[in-house]
């Protein structure tokens, strides 16, 4: 995080992100520079059998930047936490992988996203999933309870990334795995704050 960004600016960035994602909650179409929905899932090589089980309305809300499940196997019976779950597509897929003896929990800071995730969940009829509106910097869970934490294109949007990563480690069981996809800067980022707020999440 560049130190020349003030708290006030960070608050503006966070407000901008909340605004953007409350719109994405309705539909991600046209909001991103990469494929979203079922096309995104296919391009990223998600498990064909699993994405076939997703109702179209659920699949269409997908806007991830990578496939966290390509990083390792999720086993039956495990507990999975999805940080910044958005509309909950990855959370629901994780719940299919862990099966009825496992559990998948999705958290997101944007209430509209959690509402969309809840309505997506209803369409699947699955019972081993729950969603909560909460900040990634302060997770409402005890230490050492999740086998796996997944995250998809979210940590880069969090203002205090280090706090969020420390929280992830805290709630993971010893031996637990973090599998995440995210955006990393490859060129110098916008220095002026107007440009920064505008391009932070494009």
């Amino acid at each position: 995080m560049d130190s020349q960004i003030s708290i006030d600016d960070l608050n503006k960035i966070e407000a901008g992100i909340r605004q953007k994602y409350s719109e994405v909650a309705r539909s991600p179409e046209g909001q991103f520079q990469y494929p979203t929905g079922r096309k995104g899932l296919k391009t990223l090589n998600y498990d064909k059998a699993l994405i076939a089980k997703l109702p179209d309305a659920v699949a269409s809300s997908y806007c991830g930047v990578g496939n966290p499940f390509s990083l390792g196997k999720i086993n039956e019976g495990e507990k999975v936490l999805d940080i910044g779950c958005g509309a909950g597509v990855d959370t629901i897929l994780a719940a299919m992988m862990v099966g009825p003896n496992g559990l998948a929990v999705g958290v997101d800071i944007v209430p509209e996203m959690i509402a969309r995730a809840e309505s997506n969940l209803k369409m699947t009829g699955m019972e081993n999933v729950s969603f909560q509106t909460t900040s990634g910097e302060n997770l409402p869970f005890a230490d050492d309870i999740f086998d796996v934490v997944i995250s998809n294109g979210v940590i880069n949007l969090i203002v205090d990334k280090e706090a969020a990563l420390a929280e992830i480690r805290r709630v993971l069981k010893p031996g637990g795995r973090l599998m995440m996809a995210d955006q990393i800067a490859v060129a110098s980022v916008q220095k002026d704050i107007q440009g920064r707020v505008a391009s932070w999440f494009q």
Binding site: G66, P174, A187
Partner: protein
């Protein structure tokens, strides 16, 4: 600070950047896959640290008593004399 450094700083082990995803949000960012783990058990970690320390001591010991200007036996006798003079009887 980048993600890998941050993951290590907060205590993750085996932090790795695996591959690009091809999904880039802006021309200046790249989609990337990361993996990291929480150490399996604190006891195992401590034992490993203890093992490392023991082998370091072993190295120091071997180095100290290695054949040099004085031979190994002479060095041991000097150490014995010094420890008796210091009142060590164990």
């Amino acid at each position: 600070m980048d993600f890998l450094a941050m993951l290590q700083k907060v205590g993750f082990v085996d932090a790795q950047m695996i591959a690009e995803t091809g999904f880039n949000s802006t021309p200046k960012t790249r989609g990337m896959l990361f993996r990291a783990a929480k150490v399996a058990s604190i006891v195992a970690e401590k034992n490993k640290a203890r093992g490392d320390l023991l082998s370091k001591y072993q190295e120091f010991f071997e180095e100290t008593y290695a054949q040099g200007e004085l031979d190994r036996k002479t060095k041991h006798l000097i150490a014995l004399g010094a420890s008796l003079a210091a009142g060590c009887e164990a």
